[in-house]
Structures are given as structure tokens and as C-alpha cells.
């Protein structure tokens, strides 16, 4: 039995979520190979070779993979993946983009965003915004799976000494090209990897008021998120959205400020270890999942919180 794990990276360094994906691979069992596809990304392959429990690293270094274009990457993974029983990628916007394409090319039904491995053929996955958990079973020859990173504890980044093998496989489907990107620049930790997340909702009233949350976040080393309502209202960009259709987070501490707690938001954060809710409406559903609830006007409570940290 063998598992191919697709490495998530930015051509310079490996993204932490790859370690969670390898953890899921270990629970499935078998030899683990990590595929690094990108451009000028040999440093990433060296990093991947050190991951605890990885047997081999395949490096596909080619301009066609520089921006992780789904059409090119899927052709590569479908070809490389043929020899494997499992193909895993993180359920990030990269994995979600190219992996269904791989599954279709291999004529298999993909399994999206597993949250647990029951046995080698059986997995749990949330459906209906996490309001139900499905146990699914697959007897397919190849199992193509995305992994919810927050549901698996990462393996150690060091301790392995896998060999790195170069793949001379340039796949350019020729139907898509990269035009540009605007990446949010922030000194704060990544939302999905942060130990503490503080999120604002519609109660923040406008984007400028998020400054209060940034100040608290800087004291706690936290990432800042938002509910869909705050994103829809244009307070903050969509990459800050936590929820069913945004990012899934499970930090040690999640602080929800001015968020009512719609099921779509809860879907993205209810696996957090400790949840704090600050809301002036004591009937807000967020209090039903909060470990500590503070019924207060956020415009008084948040600055006070900042001063007391």
C-alpha cells in the first residue's frame, strides 16, 4: 500500500498544512511519498525530505507548475499518482482546485475534506456545514482525498531523511495562464495555523473598527478573522472569512466579537479548544457554543480587553 501526499508550498518553503496531511497519510498506513511540484522549489523538496515518516520525495520542478495552475498540476498528479493507492492533498484552495480534476482524470469519485480516518477504506467527513458527519467507505482502486488540516495533529517537521528524486515531467495543458495575484500582506500568523484567532462580525459596524481587533491580536500573537456577514458588508476582504465557505480554523483560543453565530460561521470554528464570545445580544446563538460568554458592548469591552492583556 502506498500514499502520495501533495506538498503545499510557495516555491520557497513548505506550508505547515502539509504536515497535517502527512499525519492523515500515516493513519491510513503504508509508504508515504511526498510530491513537490513548483518552479525553483528544490529547497521545498529538501524540507519535505526531513518530514518524519516520509519515505520518498518526488520533485517536479518546472515553470508550468510555478503558480499551481490546476490544469497542469492535475495532469502531473494524475500521471504520477497512477501507481499509488491513495492520493492526498490538503483541503486548501490549492488542493480543492486541482484534486477533483485528478480524480476525474483517473475516473474515481473523490472524497472531500476528511476529518478522521476510521480505517484504510473508511473516513469521516462533515456535510451540511458540519451539522452532520458522514462515515464514507470506498473500495475504489485509487482513493483521491482532501484532508481537513485542523482535524489532524501535524507530524514532526524534522527527523526524516527521505531521498529526493527528480521527475522530468513537464505538463502544460496549454489552456490556462497566470495573470497576477494580490496576496494579503500581514505580519500576523496565518488564520488556519494560528493558536489564537480573534474574529469580528456585523457588530463591528465598519472596517475601520477592525483596528481594535488588530490591536488585541498583536498582544496575543493572534490572527484576525471575520464572519461572512462582515465580509459581505465589505468591512474586510474575503480571505479573512471563517466558516462553511471560508476557512476552517481550530485554534487553542477563538474570540468571536460581534458575531451572532450563524450555523455557517460555527461550521468554521466550533472545533476550537476554547471559544470566547463577546456580544451585546445575550440571546445570540454564539453563546450556545462559547466556553466563556461576555454580554457587553464590544466597543467598550474590546479596548478594555486590550488594556488588560
Amino acid at each position: 500500500m502506498s500514499v502520495l501526499v501533495y506538498a503545499e508550498h510557495d516555491n520557497a518553503s513548505l506550508k505547515g498544512v502539509t504536515l497535517n496531511t502527512v499525519a492523515a497519510a500515516q493513519q491510513i498506513g503504508g509508504d508515504i511519498t511526498v510530491l513537490v511540484a513548483g518552479s525553483g522549489c528544490s529547497a521545498v523538496a529538501e524540507e519535505a525530505a526531513k518530514i518524519d515518516g516520509v519515505a520518498k520525495v518526488l520533485l517536479a520542478d518546472n515553470a508550468a507548475y510555478e503558480h499551481q495552475l490546476a490544469e497542469n498540476v492535475a495532469d502531473l498528479v494524475a500521471e504520477v499518482g497512477k501507481g499509488y493507492k491513495y492520493i492526498l492533498a490538503a483541503a486548501t484552495t490549492t488542493g480543492k482546485n486541482f484534486l477533483p480534476r485528478v480524480a476525474a482524470l483517473l475516473d474515481v469519485q473523490m472524497i472531500s475534506e476528511i476529518s478522521a480516518v476510521v480505517d484504510a477504506n473508511t473516513f469521516l467527513r462533515p456535510i451540511y456545514a458540519g451539522n452532520a458527519i458522514a462515515t464514507v467507505q470506498s473500495d475504489q482502486e485509487t482513493n483521491v482525498i482532501t484532508v481537513r488540516g485542523t482535524s489532524f495533529d501535524p507530524v514532526a517537521a524534522e527527523g526524516g531523511s527521505a531521498s529526493v528524486e527528480n521527475l522530468d515531467l513537464a505538463k502544460d495543458a496549454g489552456v490556462s495562464s497566470f495573470v497576477g495575484e494580490e496576496l494579503a500582506k500581514s505580519d500576523r500568523p496565518d488564520l488556519t495555523a494560528a493558536d489564537v484567532v480573534i474574529s469580528g462580525g456585523r457588530g463591528m459596524q465598519n472596517g475601520d473598527n477592525f483596528e481594535m481587533l488588530y490591536k488585541v491580536a498583536d498582544k496575543l500573537g493572534a490572527a484576525v478573522g471575520a464572519s461572512r456577514a462582515a465580509v459581505d458588508a465589505g468591512f474586510v476582504p474575503n480571505d479573512m472569512q471563517v466558516g462553511q465557505t471560508g476557512k476552517i480554523v481550530a485554534p487553542q483560543l477563538y474570540v468571536a466579537v460581534g458575531i451572532s453565530g450563524a450555523i455557517q460561521h460555527l461550521a468554521g470554528m466550533k472545533d476550537s479548544k476554547v471559544i470566547v464570545a463577546i456580544n451585546k445580544d445575550e440571546e445570540a446563538p454564539i453563546f450556545q457554543v462559547a466556553d466563556y460568554g461576555l454580554v457587553a458592548d464590544l466597543f467598550e469591552a474590546v479596548p478594555e480587553l486590550e488594556s488588560k492583556l
Binding site: 490549492t94 462515515t135 464514507v136 495562464s177 466563556y292 478594555e304
Partner: protein, 248 residues
């Protein structure tokens, strides 16, 4: 230019679903059904392309039970020209993608717009799979779509921000929330929609096998999270976080 738009019938966005007593799935008896919200955005985008004079015809396609006619009628009321329903229940994304591929082969659209995911299965697969089967480029999680001669530029919502790609036409686009704000259908348009053509087909008409490849063994409610305590003020909150939860 012809645009194909896919729509799915799902449990209404506002319904709090409950797991069925026998754990076979979620209880759909007497539950309000509606068009998947991401599909509404897909229809809206197609209609806007038509209003701009870019699209000349919009075909709305659904794979689902007989009642999915309602969602196609909704798409027709919003501005689609005709509908195709492939009648089949519980088809998994690969099966849906194969049916859509067969329809793409017949209809030869220049652009196919789908929702990025349906809010029932939360799979986020069908658009990408269709693109793979049809050999097309894909612009997933779109927040902006600009059609030019022979190509389309799609701005995509990615984890770190936004990415823009250019795709050769024909291509597949899947919608994210910020692409547009869908309109409501007007009563006169709802009446007119009843007269628009709607074809009904079966998977067999396209020679597509839609038997499920992944089996759902059981469906259970998630672990309940117990509500905690209310604190009186910020000082107590900070104290609890430091000394009880030990998270700061």
C-alpha cells in the same frame, strides 16, 4: 456566445438540518428546498453576461429529482432561455460531471458556470471534474469574470488573497460569494418562465452510469459543544482565560 449554467436543488440555506433517526442521512421530510446559493450566483453571472450583450443564450441544467424542475424554472425566471433536467437521485459529483460533459458535447457552450460547492454535500468537485473531462481550463472560486474574444479572465479567491488566471474558451467557471449579488425573480418573469422550454432526460440517454462509487455508511450529528459560563466583565474573562483555560 452560449452559456451553460448548472443549478442544484438543496435544502434551503436557512434550514437547520437534522440527522435522520436511522442515521441513513439527514431528514428531508417537509424541509424547504431551494436553489443552492452558489448556483444562484452562477445564474446571476450568466444573466449579467447576457445583459451586457456578451452571452446570447443561457441554458440551465440540473441533475436531480423530478422536483428540481422548480430550480430550473427559477433559473428561467431569472433570465435563462431554456432548461434541461437530467432526472436522477443522489448522483455523486463524478456522475454529475459526466452528465454535464455529455450535455456540453451536445450544446457546445463557450462558458460553463457552476457554483463552487453545494451546501448539502460540501464537496466542491463538480466544476473541476467537468473541466477535466471536457479538457477545459477552470477558473474556480471566482470573484470576478471578464470575457474577452476567445478567452476569459477570472479572479479567484485563494487562501492568501486573490489570483487572476486567463483561460482559453470554452472554459469552466465556479462562483464564490463575492462574484455578484443575485436578484430576485419578478412575478411577470416567473409567469413567463412557465412557458420556456424544459427538456427532461435520463442518465441512460447519455450512456452515463451514475451508480455511487463512495458509499455512505452512516450519518451522525456532530459532537455537541456544551455552552459554558457567562462572565461578568472583562477582568473575569481575562482571569478565566489565564488561570482556568490557560490559553493566554
Amino acid at each position: 456566445m452560449k452559456v451553460l449554467v448548472a443549478v442544484k436543488r438543496v435544502v434551503d440555506y436557512n434550514v437547520k438540518v437534522r440527522v435522520a433517526a436511522d442515521n441513513s442521512g439527514v431528514d428531508l421530510n417537509n424541509v424547504k428546498m431551494a436553489m443552492n446559493p452558489f448556483c444562484e450566483i452562477a445564474v446571476e453571472e450568466a444573466v449579467r453576461l447576457k445583459e451586457k450583450g456578451v452571452a446570447t443564450e443561457i441554458v440551465a441544467v440540473a441533475v436531480g429529482p423530478k422536483q428540481a424542475q422548480e430550480q430550473i424554472r427559477t433559473a428561467l425566471a431569472l433570465g435563462a432561455d431554456r432548461g434541461i433536467l437530467v432526472e436522477a437521485e443522489d448522483v455523486q459529483p463524478l456522475g454529475v460531471a459526466k452528465l454535464l460533459k455529455a450535455i456540453v458535447d451536445e450544446e457546445k457552450p463557450d462558458l460553463v458556470i457552476l457554483g463552487k460547492q453545494a451546501i448539502d454535500g460540501d464537496n466542491n468537485q463538480t466544476g473541476q471534474m467537468l473541466a477535466a473531462l471536457a479538457g477545459m481550463g477552470q477558473g474556480t472560486f471566482a470573484s470576478e469574470v471578464n470575457v474577452a474574444e476567445g478567452s476569459v479572465k477570472v479572479t479567484r479567491e485563494i487562501d492568501g488573497g486573490l489570483q487572476t488566471v486567463e483561460l482559453k474558451l470554452p472554459a469552466v467557471v465556479t462562483t464564490d460569494l463575492r462574484l455578484n449579488e443575485p436578484r430576485y425573480a419578478s412575478l411577470p418573469n416567473i409567469m413567463k418562465a412557465k412557458k420556456k422550454p424544459l427538456d427532461t432526460k435520463a442518465p441512460g440517454d447519455f450512456g452515463v452510469d451514475v451508480s455511487p462509487l463512495v458509499k455512505t455508511v452512516k450519518v451522525e450529528p456532530p459532537a455537541e459543544r456544551q455552552a459554558g459560563v457567562k462572565v461578568a466583565d472583562v477582568a473575569e474573562l481575562v482571569d478565566k482565560l489565564k488561570n482556568e483555560a490557560k490559553v493566554i
